[in-house]
């Protein structure tokens, strides 16, 4: 059975074209033109494997739709942001989407990202159970739960993978390229900040428990390192 993708964008013609493109690539694509319609669509049929959401929409924006989708349906989301304009603002907002792509984008790039995100969520089910514990943080890749003592950390799939990957290599520097490849299952492209957004989100989650120190260190020009 092919995977279902819901496109949420206020440009109807673009939706139609993208649906056609994704359908020819073997997906089942549906589209809606607003955040409100996306919610009612999901309420009647939550059988989608992935959402592609435009940030800028009248009514409920992509930023507002994202947490609703994540909390109610737990479906991975790729956010489309205005090219070159909003990526830094989004970095600041740390939305928690599974991937970010500047719009307008090459449809092949979008297709590659969709496949990468789906591959990751597919892998989740087949992953070998293993758990790592460091600084009191416990990461269980079987149950995909991260916790500190009694408190469990609320992380998205990508964020969990970032933490898992960095902790597996604690003490070593993981380059942005490697992290993108292993976590997002794709190559790092110029001006691609997705992986930085995920790292930043994980940091924020950890900071609640480790106020005095940053366990994740940025190594200038290279990547990130988890403190041993």
């Amino acid at each position: 059975m092919s995977e279902g993708i819901l496109l949420v964008d206020d440009d109807k013609s673009l939706n139609e074209l993208l649906s056609q493109y994704l359908t020819s690539a073997g997906f089942e694509a549906a589209s809606v033109t607003s955040g409100e319609k996306a919610i009612s669509m999901l309420q009647s049929d939550s059988n989608f494997d992935l959402l592609v959401v435009d940030v800028m929409m009248p009514g409920i924006t992509g930023l507002e739709l994202l947490p609703i989708v994540q909390s109610r349906w737990n479906i991975p989301v790729i956010m489309l942001t205005g090219r070159g304009e909003d990526i830094d603002r989004i970095l600041g907002l740390e939305m928690g989407a599974d991937d970010y792509l500047a719009k307008p984008c090459n449809p092949r790039e979008l297709l590659a990202r969709i496949k990468a995100v789906l591959r990751r969520s597919g892998e989740v089910k087949t992953e070998v159970a293993a758990s790592i514990e460091l600084h009191g943080i416990c990461v269980d890749s079987g149950s995909r739960q991260a916790s500190i003592g009694e408190d469990s950390l609320t992380l998205t799939t990508a964020e969990f993978d970032v933490l898992n990957e960095l902790m597996k290599n604690a003490g070593a520097v993981v380059s942005r390229e490697d992290l993108t490849r292993r976590v997002l299952h794709r190559e790092l492209t110029p001006y691609d900040r997705s992986v930085d957004v995920h790292v930043s989100r994980v940091r924020t989650a950890l900071r609640k428990h480790f106020e005095d120190r940053d366990l994740i260190v940025t190594v200038r020009g290279v990547g990130y390192q988890f403190a041993k």
């Binding site: 673009l14 993208l18 070159g84 830094d88 307008p104 090459n106 449809p107 200038r220």
Partner: protein, 413 residues
């Protein structure tokens, strides 16, 4: 004003020396003899008579300028002695009456009306003159020079592309004189210019924004056709070409949108630590320009500035990118402070830019003639506008050692 004071004093001295004792005795001796004659004969000469005589004697003096004393009897023959004593400059001449040979004294106050200038004999009056002139100059400064200076700086600000929304001071506008008129005219003019600029920016923004949607659709449509061509195994090189050109248009539209936004100043500002941001930019650039050497030389450790991170990033990246594009060797990024400004310099060792083209580089769509380098020629236009929105400047110069130096100056506050 001081010069006027000095020349007044000089003229006064001139006048005083000309009006010598000799001259006084010459001018008044006839009149004095006439009065003394009458006095000795016991004739009480009427004032009018004397005045007539005085007038006929061509003495342009006041009635009371002359006082004659009978020395022997110590009596006032003519005039008001007390008044005379109040005069600070007078001539005192002893003379003998022609008939009796008795001694008389003739006192003449040097008539102030003879002088074309106020009496400034004493240092005190000079002081007063000086004060008056200072008062005048202060008054002129207050009434004329200062408002004109304010107008001038306002117009200069507008000329440098400053904020046209900024109103002239109400004090200037409410004046009912010519300066007030001028101020209102300047205000109307800047409103008009602002309106023109606004509509230009709106147009630029709207057009760029509206171009995006059809372009996004075109990109997907091209993708569909390409995928079809690929599936039947036909040549896709032209499809790739279409994709490339669409990408290029996309990038251009993004630049235009950013330019329009920058001109509007409609970008959020926050407190940014310059050394940190510059380091991030240098790291990013090192990452993408593999094999090139980009060296930061930061001479200050903390430097905060209120600016949009996005714009600052964009500007510095653009300067470094240009340096990388147009030179082969090392690129240096400096951070210094100078007075009330932070100075960011980006230096390369390329060919530089011909001096007569340096200014033109800030105009949109201006590029160096170079076939190998991609770009739209918008980077520096955006950069200089970004600098200006925070009250900074951006300049280019050729280094004497060779290569180009771009200097970005940002005010500390």
């Amino acid at each position: 004003m001081l010069l006027i004071g000095i020349s007044v004093l000089w003229l006064e001295t001139e006048y005083k020396s000309r009006f010598s004792e000799f001259e006084v005795s010459e001018r008044y001796s006839n009149l004095a003899n006439y009065i003394v004659q009458g006095y000795e004969l016991g004739i009480d000469l009427s004032r009018n008579q004397i005045r007539r005589r005085e007038g006929s004697g061509n003495i342009e003096g006041r009635n009371d300028t002359l006082v004659i004393l009978d020395v022997l009897n110590d009596r006032v023959v003519y005039g008001d002695r007390e008044w005379l004593e109040l005069q600070n400059r007078r001539v005192d001449i002893m003379f003998r009456a022609a008939n009796s040979g008795n001694f008389y004294r003739m006192n003449v106050a040097i008539p102030p009306l003879r002088s074309p200038l106020p009496d400034l004999a004493s240092p005190m009056s000079f002081g007063i003159a000086l004060c008056t002139s200072l008062l005048y100059s202060w008054f002129f400064t207050l009434v004329l020079t200062r408002p004109i200076t304010r107008l001038k700086s306002h117009v200069q600000l507008l000329g440098r592309g400053g904020n046209l929304d900024q109103k002239l001071e109400a004090k200037l506008m409410s004046r009912r004189d010519e300066i007030g008129d001028l101020a209102s005219s300047i205000d109307e003019m800047s409103e008009y210019i602002q309106e023109l600029l606004n509509s230009k920016q709106r147009l630029l923004f709207d057009v760029s924004h509206e171009l995006r949607a059809p372009l996004a659709r075109m990109q997907v449509a091209a993708g569909i056709v390409r995928a079809e061509a690929e599936s039947i195994g036909s040549d896709i090189s032209m499809h790739d070409r279409v994709e490339h050109e669409v990408e290029s248009l996309n990038a251009l539209i993004s630049e235009l949108l950013l330019l329009a936004k920058t001109e509007n100043g409609g970008i959020d500002r926050q407190i940014v630590s310059l050394p940190k941001e510059l380091n991030d930019v240098v790291d990013d650039m090192k990452f993408w320009a593999k094999g090139r050497i980009i060296t930061p030389h930061f001479n200050i450790e903390s430097a905060d500035v209120e600016i949009s991170i996005q714009l600052l990033d964009r500007v510095v990246k653009n300067l470094v990118e240009n340096a990388l594009k147009y030179s082969e060797g090392e690129v240096c990024v400096y951070l210094d402070e100078e007075g009330s400004e932070w100075i960011i310099r980006v230096e390369d060792s390329g060919d530089g830019i011909p001096d007569d083209q340096l200014e033109a580089m800030f105009q949109p769509f201006t590029r160096l003639q170079s076939e190998s380098v991609e770009g739209f020629g918008l980077g520096l236009s955006i950069a200089i506008r970004a600098a200006q929105t925070v009250g900074g400047t951006l300049s280019l110069e050729n280094r004497s050692e060779g290569g180009l130096r771009a200097t970005l100056r940002l005010p500390k506050n």
